[in-house]
């Protein structure tokens, strides 16, 4: 006779159920990575304030840590300037894009409330920040091996794209869970958000390199700035 109980069915990572533990920083990080559906549940129907606070703290700390790694290429004052710009720039970009996210979700059929949208956006930015922090050792190794701002900028953008992909995937899936009538088509908003983030990092430059002033004196669009960075790097190798 077989005494072993039957195996439990595998738990779906987007199961919309309450969190198993009280919302602390560690439990929120764990749930965000393993059971994001639980975080979405808490944000919409549970202990929203506590979870939102934990998400904000984790996002700020993770982005600041990644900023320190970015600043390590130039060293000196960039050790605090880069984290400040990364955290401030990310928060401002999220704030700028929040109204359009709310409206786009409503256009997709979601019966959305602004505080719910704030929560879901915070969760996706927090996931992105955690992933960036986990990629920080890779970025740090490269920053210690090169002086090239162009190379480091390319690497940071690639790492950011990877993290952003996961963050936006969470946002899209969360929208489907939260508002079953809503489709997950957020393509246009995603394009806008990516453009705003890229431009934000150009507007608060330099983050990787060094400059005389805290903020740039000349206004540039990110493509123009990118061409300048690549052009300057190419001329150094001639």
């Amino acid at each position: 006779m077989n005494d072993e109980p039957p195996a439990l069915p595998p738990r779906h990572s987007f199961e919309y159920v309450p969190m198993d533990e009280p919302p602390t920083i560690w439990s929120v990080i764990s749930a965000l990575l393993k059971q994001p559906g639980q975080v979405v549940y808490e944000l919409l129907e549970g202990r929203a304030a506590a979870v939102l606070g934990a998400l904000a703290l984790v996002a700020i700390a993770s982005l600041a840590l990644y900023g320190v790694v970015i600043g390590s290429l130039a060293g000196g004052a960039q050790f605090w300037i880069a984290p400040a710009k990364i955290v401030g720039g990310s928060a401002l970009a999220a704030l700028i894009c929040l109204p359009s996210l709310f409206v786009f979700l409503c256009l997709n059929g979601a019966d959305a409330r602004l505080r719910h949208v704030v929560g879901l956006l915070a969760a996706s930015i927090c996931l992105m920040a955690i992933l960036l922090m986990s990629l920080a050792p890779i970025a740090w190794i490269f920053s210690q091996s090169t002086d090239s701002v162009a190379l480091m900028a390319t690497l940071h953008i690639l790492l950011w794209i990877v993290a952003l992909g996961f963050g936006l995937r969470l946002l899209s899936k969360s929208a489907v869970i939260a508002w079953s009538g809503a489709s997950s088509r957020l393509g246009v908003w995603t394009c806008i958000y990516v453009l705003v983030c890229l431009q934000m990092m150009t507007a608060v430059r330099p983050i990787i390199g060094r400059a005389e002033t805290f903020l740039p004196s000349e206004k540039q669009f990110f493509l123009t700035h990118w061409m300048h960075v690549i052009g300057a790097s190419a001329s150094n190798y001639r």
């Binding site: 704030l95 109204p99 359009s100 409503c106 256009l107 979601a110 246009v188 507007a203 206004k219 669009f221």
Partner: protein, 230 residues
């Protein structure tokens, strides 16, 4: 009970059954809400349009932008009503006008929601005082034309399910919406030209209307901006 915010959420979600019921109402409150949304939403976005040139231009454009929408809606009401009935929309003149007003309300909400993004663009655009003022003007013009066109298409698209219901067929609904879109675009763009300046040319003074409003056309201006940008 009349709940304006719930109605606006249903409008954004494209809830065709609710929209159809609103069309049959003999109550002007809903039309008033749509008008107010156009006035405030369009006004907020209009202010971001004029801000690059001057603070006074922002105030002028905040007034003129909703005015442009109301003029387009009013002046095209007869044409849209006729076209809708010819193409089988299943709506009368009053219903067509209300449907188009609702579509413009959606457009105004979308535009108001992207106003912070356009302010951010403004922050990054070379200011009027710098040497590249013409470049700044071209960027501002192209970005706003693109954004307004996008929001306009969303506004019309929100009516799709409603017109499918009233007309009874998707191909007929597509024809009706395409007809309304082209008609409103054609009149709206030229009215925008007549009511200019919205952004304000770097070389010209800040004014509510130009002294020669009927000279030239919108499409020529966009062509010149594209030519300058590329």
């Amino acid at each position: 009970m009349f709940d304006a915010s719930k109605r606006l959420l249903r409008l954004l979600a494209g809830n065709a059954a609710a929209q159809r019921a609103w069309l049959d109402e003999r109550d002007w409150r809903w039309a008033g809400v749509c008008g107010a949304v156009i006035f405030f939403g369009g006004g907020i976005y209009g202010a971001t349009l004029g801000l690059w040139r001057d603070g006074l231009q922002a105030v002028f454009t905040a007034i003129k932008f909703p005015l442009l929408v109301f003029l387009t809606c009013g002046a095209n009401a007869a044409f849209n009503g006729c076209l809708g009935q010819l193409l089988g929309s299943g709506m009368g003149f009053r219903q067509t006008t209300l449907a188009i007003l609702m579509s413009f309300a959606v457009t105004a909400i979308v535009l108001a929601s992207v106003a912070p993004i356009m302010l951010f663009l403004l922050w990054n655009t070379p200011p009027l005082a710098e040497g590249n003022a013409l470049g700044g003007h071209s960027i501002t013009l192209l970005a706003h034309v693109g954004m307004i066109a996008f929001a306009g298409v969303i506004g019309v698209h929100r009516l799709f399910r409603l017109v499918v219901q009233t007309s009874g067929s998707a191909p007929a609904a597509r024809r009706v919406l395409l007809g309304w879109l082209v008609g409103n675009l054609l009149l709206g763009t030229q009215l925008a030209w007549v009511l200019r300046p919205f952004i304000g040319s770097p070389a010209l003074a800040v004014e509510f209307f130009r002294t020669d409003p009927l000279r030239g056309s919108f499409f020529e201006a966009v062509w010149r901006a594209l030519h300058h940008f590329f």
